[in-house]
Amino acid sequence: MEEQKEISFRIYRYNPHFDKKPYYDNIRITLEKGITVLRALNFIKENIDSKLTFRAFCQAGICGSCGLKINGVSKLACMTQVFKELEDSKEENVILIEPLNNFTIMRDLVVDMDPLVEKLKYYYSWVNPKMPVHELGKKEYLISEEKFQEYDQATDCILCASCVSECLMMEVNPNYISPAVLLKSYRMNVDERDSMQKTRLKKVTSDGGVWDCTHCYKCVEHCVKNIDIMKGIQGLRNSGMKTVSKRSEGAKHAKAFITDIKRKGRLVEFTLITRTLGFIKPIFMLPMMIKMLLRRRVPPPSFMMSEIPRIEKVRKIFRKLKKKNF
């Protein structure tokens, strides 16, 4: 007989028709080693509570339906072993099951995925074929291994939305493009079969786009397919700087950073806002600035900031980068 354990599943429940607010159910079941969280949920639905509502389909980690928060972390229920998960449980033999963050909850563990689809559409997440329709299917493009490698990994994405759920920027701004759609945009933009790189890049580099990413790396950390999403984000920023958006706020912000590091070895936050946004927009931020002033949270101006010790070393790095055409 295989090892067995009695385990409590503490599951987030909410039916908008009946419940004023969400609550947690505790369901205890005995499971043997080797059972996935999805199998446990299926067991509960079939034998204990048929009202428990969640999405699941392929059960093999490729369709992306069963994204959930398990013990607070976004992942696929079908790829998560119950016994392994117990090692991370805060309470002994208790597993916490909740819906993904940053989405509207429709019922229990089911969230509304439509906003993600809308973003895919808004940011042109497709190859816009160079060929006219009547030419399609006649001959292959020849694609070098090098070009192929640029987008191959990005096409692993199954849109499970674990990255969207973990993204800190999404929490602040629900209209933010999201890591998944950034990855798609990058994947399309490096594909030589596509004909709308510039248009896409313009959109991606405007408000709520690629410049809003805060580099928290949570998307990379939690990608169930281990995709280096940040490589895509950096790639988009690089092309943005080079082509469409030299004058965009994001690009100016990045440039200001670089200038400061070169000059002082650290950030001069006092003038960062005006260098990024100009002089008009910050007027609307005056109340916040006054508040900051009163609380003595205003950073010192440039002339009061000295260079960091051994600034020469930093500048040396810049010289090296310049040599390499960065």
């Binding site: 080797g34 369709c63 392994k84 190859v127 816009n128 006649k138 079969r193």
Partner: protein, 566 residues
Amino acid sequence: MKQYDIVIVGGGGAGLYAAMEILNTDISLNIAVISKIYPNRSHTSAAQGGANAALANKDKTDTIEKHIFDTIKGSDYLADQDAASILCEEAPRVIRELENLGTPFSRMDDGTIAQRPFGGASSPRCCYCADKTGHTILQTLYEQCLRLGVKFYNEYFLISIEENDGVCQGITALNIQSGEIEIFPAKIVILATGGYAKAYWNRSSNAAGNTGDGIAAALRAGVPLKDMEFVQFHPTGLRKSGLLVTEGARGEGGYLINKNGDRFMSNYAPEKMELGPRDLVSRSIETEINEGRGFDSTAGQYINLDLTHLGAELITKRLPQIRELSISFEGIDPIDEPIPIRPTAHYSMGGIDTDKTGRTIMKGLYAIGECACVSVHGANRLGGNSLLEILVFGKIAGHEAALEAKSLNSVSISNSIIDKHKKYFRSLMQPSQYERYGVIREEMGTTLAENVGIYRTEKNLIQAIYDIKKLIERFKRVKVNDTSTVFNTNLVNVLELRNMLNIALAISAGAYARKESRGSHSRTDYTKRDDVNFHKHTMFTLSDGNLDVSYKPVIMGKYELEERTY
């Protein structure tokens, strides 16, 4: 009431290809895709291997003609030869079209699409994207449909096909998110709802939703099904989940071991051992288990697939996916322990009877992909031909439907149908209902696996038909506990079970009536292929609630019947 020119039910590879082709043919057509899940979740994504096309990139001597012959021979001569020819002739065009639209096919050194050898193929002609071919094809098609502005109704469950005097009027569907029943009048309906191998429930590699919804709805609407008894089994499914361990594991040198520690394949295929053809290996494993040489566990009997002798380095380098699956789904690391496996149902050759354009006998109703039986796979499908089928016939049916739609009269569906369905749903929620759907579903899977599995014999098939008829009776008292309208998956699961029960009966009845062994259908009481009596398609129709079985000739061409040896 809003009326569509074309409604496509199902958002997998076939449905999406059809949608794309329709709008590429005539952008003015008013179309919609209705899918019970978000289309990018469809089971097309699970196909790993690839799609066959005689591009001759890898082997310059490969031809379309060779592909056609391989397909017909692989089908054990049950495929319709005109349809098989179209499949192979159109293959290069659809693969190149997908390539032009961004599918990340793996490449040869010269930059052309890479091709690899596959079972039953006389040349390496399978085009692939590493081991994620289906996934990337599905993504490409979904992206293109978004680009073309296809109207999607996601999370809508097909309830019925409506007809008037043999002419299709559209469909009704349950909006899963709201609980409303909605009417979709359409001049043309294209069913692309996928296969039915999930009727074997936990003995299947399929997604939970491959429940044959379109097939069952077509049967209820009076459209005949074809060759339902042909279900392909894969030798190595994981014991608990039925998920696939690909042939690569044996290709790299894995052993199949029984309870006594023997490499039993030496008794069945002394030369090829574990690398014998798929149906033979499946039959051998089944025999070992039937004769008491399998391992016992709470999750059923199994055989070991032993990779431990291959060493950690080879396993982590060449079989990383297999290792990940074993750890995730069985809690077993194949570096340290053998993998428990048993054969698993994974593809359904049968389906809705169509001609080579995807048309059914009902005017305005088409069927494509795994839910259809054109038939190109006959009694046994070749690896790499299933992805190909959804692409080719998705394109053909899409094109045909686009040309036909304008010439058809307008249609209508009476609102009273909504009340009829509502009444039925409410009846399932009555306190007098008591049967548990999970129990019926489990028993259906068990009786199919035990009696209509790899080996079939009259006694077992009679048992299966008896069991399933009883389950259909019990289903009348099945209870839906969830009375909520919003996202009622309990109701959806019960409606899926209703569909699977219809299909389970057809599989069993077809297998009972076919007194021969052909392709995936192995009768221990009729071990030989019988071309005189059974070189024909089995046809299924519903009359007064009873399933009738009849036959229809196979369309032959230039290939005469031959014995199938490899």
